[in-house]
């Protein structure tokens, strides 16, 4: 009788402790501290929270929908465009360092590694923004300036 009571109590204790461990504690998950911070900031806190909540759950659907819109209909709005995601979430290449999809610190890769997801976006798409000087060099509509553009188009990985 006593042993039965003991076993039930110990079982319940074990269960509660497990629940306590798996419940949402005050500490953020480890992965969250690893994810690279976005370059640009939202105007308000609410916008940021809404964006995070939506994109965490739905980013794959948003990107897929936008992909077809852009490819087949030519809708090139910044919202949900992969290029704009990359522009904001991956730092622009500098002299010393270029963060690419081959680094664990790349915004997309950090999570995808954690959950063992293999995506092939970056087999074709650029995984980091253009070098800042390249972006400005490409801006003038005059395309004759080949000699000066030449030196800046090389994007190192």
């Amino acid at each position: 009788m006593f042993s039965k009571f003991l076993s039930v109590t110990s079982l319940m204790l074990l269960l509660f402790s497990l629940l306590g461990m798996s419940g949402c504690g005050s500490e953020p998950p480890e992965i969250e501290t690893k994810i690279a911070k976005a370059v640009k900031k939202f105007d308000t806190e609410e916008q940021m929270i809404a964006h995070k909540a939506d994109m965490r759950k739905n980013h794959m659907d948003r990107l897929l929908h936008k992909r077809d819109q852009t490819m087949h209909e030519g809708i090139r709005t910044p919202k949900y465009s992969l290029k704009k995601c990359i522009d904001c979430h991956v730092p622009a290449p500098t002299e010393n360092k270029t963060v690419t999809h081959k680094d664990s610190e790349h915004f997309c890769v950090t999570c995808h590694e954690y959950v063992s997801v293999q995506i092939d976006c970056f087999q074709c798409h650029a995984s980091h923004p253009d070098k800042p000087e390249t972006a400005t060099a490409m801006k003038p509509p005059l395309g004759l300036n080949i000699a000066t553009e030449d030196s800046s188009t090389e994007v190192t990985q």
Binding site: H72, R76, C124, I146, T153
Partner: protein, 243 residues
């Protein structure tokens, strides 16, 4: 009574003439060259983008500059592929007239056919024509079968044979997919001209073939333009003058 009817008829006819006059004068005012659609607007078939290449005006160096400008969009630096495998969004083709021995150098790119053979044969729907007439490859669904390369009478398409790195943000491309001239689709969607047009020194005109007031339509109307392999009846969007 008949006078009344006549007066009414005269008034009606005068009204009609007025409408006709507006219709003849107005196009130049109402229909301007369509530059760019709004960013959030889907492309429509109210325009058809095309190129007009004046081969007499276009120098060989301008063709080379055009190819260089095109390459800057992200192709042409494959390391492992051989000459037959290398991508070519524009090719330089030299033709000689047998009787006059006149040499003409033509830039040959995707001709953006109205009835494109590449679109016909694509088994997955990756090869498609946008409503505004630009023929593209949706590389997301391209399986790399290369049927389109065999179907294209202009040899305009190429297959990427090797792993590509350092792609440009505006021109994603990768191993195992087919690619070709996309008429600088990202540029024309925001109202810019294709890269080769900018460096052509005015020898290549880009514009809307459906708008009779656009420069390309005016030039075509005045001087005419030839389609390469017109016998195939593909109604190409790229036309040539001087051949």
């Amino acid at each position: 009574m008949s006078d009344q009817i006549n007066a009414y008829r005269r008034k009606f006819m005068a009204g009609l003439a007025g409408v006709a006059a507006i219709a003849t004068i107005a196009p130049s005012i109402v229909l301007r060259e369509v530059k760019a659609k709004a960013a959030d607007e889907a492309s429509t078939d109210s325009v058809r983008w095309g190129l007009l290449i004046d081969t007499n005006k276009l120098t060989e160096s301008a063709i080379d500059a055009g190819i260089e400008a095109c390459k800057k969009r992200g192709w042409g630096d494959e390391k492992l592929s051989n000459d037959a495998q290398d991508s070519h969004w524009i090719r330089k083709v030299k033709v000689t007239d047998k009787t006059t021995r006149k040499e003409t150098i033509l830039p040959i790119m995707c001709q953006h056919c109205e009835t494109a053979p590449c679109v016909d044969v694509c088994p997955t729907g990756a090869s498609f024509k946008r409503p505004d007439g630009v023929v593209l490859v949706d590389k997301h669904i391209c399986i790399g079968c290369r049927y389109c390369m065999m179907a294209c009478p202009y040899k305009a398409r190429s297959f990427v044979h090797e792993t590509i790195e350092n792609q440009r943000p505006d021109t994603p491309r990768g191993k195992g997919t087919v690619e070709s001239c996309d008429l600088c689709i990202g540029k024309i969607d925001v109202g810019e001209e294709p890269a080769c047009v900018k460096v052509s020194g005015g020898a290549i005109i880009f514009g809307d073939l459906k708008d009779p007031e656009s420069n390309i339509s005016k030039s075509l109307k005045e001087f005419g333009g030839t389609q390469i392999r017109a016998d195939l009846g593909l109604n190409t969007g790229v036309r040539y003058q001087g051949i």
